[in-house]
């Protein structure tokens, strides 16, 4: 299939992780982290997700899915001469 799943997967983690990390940065030291045992879990886990998203996105971009032909499908006969 033409679309490499690692691209939307990577993008989603980049956006979500990025948002969490930024939120975590601006709320560091806040009382909301009493629940998470004093750990700024938004910043830490947001960064982990961001890095994961970046790796996935880069891996997905390496494969040029735009050039991947829709034809032929595995069950479709290849035209003679190919």
């Amino acid at each position: 299939m033409g679309l490499d799943i690692r691209i939307p997967l990577g993008l989603m983690f980049l956006v979500t992780g990025g948002m969490m990390a930024i939120y975590g940065f601006f709320t560091r030291g806040s009382g909301i982290y009493d629940r998470s045992l004093g750990i700024d879990i938004n910043l830490i886990w947001g960064l982990v997700m961001f890095v994961f998203g970046l790796v996935m996105f880069m891996l997905g971009r390496r494969t040029k899915w735009q050039d991947d032909p829709v034809h032929p499908r595995p069950w479709e006969e290849r035209p003679r001469g190919h």
Partner: protein, 605 residues
Amino acid sequence: MNLTYIDWLIMLVYFIFVLGIGFALKRYMRTSNDFFLAGRSIPAWICGLAFISANLGAQEVIGMGASGAKYGIATSHFYWIGAIPAMVFVGIFMMPFYYGSKARSVPEYLRMRFDEKTRAVNAFSFAIMTVFSSGISMYAMALLIQTLGLFKGIIPDPYVFHVSIVLSAIIVLGYIFLGGLTSAIYNEVLQFFLIVAGFAPLVFLGLKHVGGWHGIQQTLPTAFTHSWRGMAHANTNPLGVEWFGLAMGLGFVLSFGYWCTDFLVVQRAMAADSEESARRVPLIAAIPKMFFPFLVILPGLIAVSIVPKAMNKVASTQTAGITAPAPAAAADGSAAIAAPKGIIPVKTNPVTGKAVLDEKGQPVYNYDLAIPVLLLNYFPTGILGLGLTALLASFMSGMAGNVTAFNTVWTYDIYQSYIKKDGTDEHYLWMGRMATIGGIILSIAAAYAATSFNNIMDALQLVFSFVNAPLFATFLLGMFWKRTTGHGAFIGLLSGTGAALLHHGLTIPMGANPGIHGGWLSIVHTYPSDMAMNFWTAIFAFATNLIVTIVISLMTKSRPDEELVGLVYSLTPKPVEHHMRWWEKPSTLAIGVLALLVVLNLVFA
């Protein structure tokens, strides 16, 4: 529950991506093969993750967390014994027939191997089951959203349930309608990573709080932290089932019956880009699957390990329907040993708001809320949005898996076989999309049926278990004994279901009243637990099907060998593996998976 803008933003991002994938894939849906089989062009690792994600429905995440809290680490048997060996078997031995036969669905394989009537039984029962399963997922999600008060202050209380149902239906319908099976598979991969991302920090924080695995071992009774201890007898372990019933009932009959024959999961492997990939799919899936107990069962154990000091904090958790647990439940050491409750909330009556009491006047605990309560306990705003999104994703992946399996079986095995045989490919593609809409509408109806007739849903699930229990014997004989005939398979299947019904009518679990729990004919045997009875029902159904199929097959004429090439083990050339290096062979992967499984069982024995 107090959610802030960041929580809502995270949820919104997820839903945008889910629907975006559907839109991006729309242009590739040119034939019915693209829509129903994902063009048989998906790499093994993607299908592998979708293979387990499609199974990650409500029962998995919420149910396993609840069982972890109730029974302890022994719940992991549902993964280690109840899934991995079957996944290895389907990958190594059965996938060459499913994929190599070019069958488009599991019922179609039954038609190719046996006959039309055997396919019809499987196709109709499967189609009905998928719709109800999807409806149950939808119902459970709406109920959870209502209980957690997710839309409190945004949507008036009486409408929360309806809005939840409609929203989830629209989203699932949107991405399947646009991108078919590929869209469902891609979203299942997204959901898989999201579930890991949402639950891994929960386990980390929980373990840190309760002193790690060592802390749990010190807090909980021994039976909760050892999966094999006390398994010699049903009365000496929390599951209430002995090792033979567990290994044969769960580990063999039920597990192989589900993972090796259920089109919901097999469809994901059939979408792979080659037969080699299709064989690797369940094996790749087995690796994360065996570690899933640490994501879904461990939170249950953590929830019951939390000491009273933390409970007080939970009591102040701002949730709509969650009542703080009775302090005596875990504050008192001896009570904790008998049945640890930790932060598990008491079940409340949604109308009166009062605690539900059992016949002894003791409060009934709502174990289904083990994971949601833990999320609220440890997650501050921000990551709470991620955790809730992961929970919603798990419900949706369960729903979508059922809907894609339904639209394929409906279109190929029912519509094309019995209603319109000579339609164009375009017509079947259109029908697939209409079946998606129909499947979602029926799921909504099933979800509402569950709200009004809870017992009817229980009864239906029971009937489905009777239909499923004997199924593996039919496939086992069909694939590995060329003498098996269509008449044998058909009569064997019906006899197996009949045996399951009869067994249920004649036995009962301890402490239950005759009725839906069993014993509605007469009581000839009492099982120590519900679980033991389920496992033994499956064993009887399987054995009956096996014997009847063999006997009838020997009495009827089998098909000539040449018609069974590609469908039966002894008549099919073995998959060529010479071009693969030793570590690329599916058998190497299978040995690795089984070795890991042994290690896990030994560590947590």
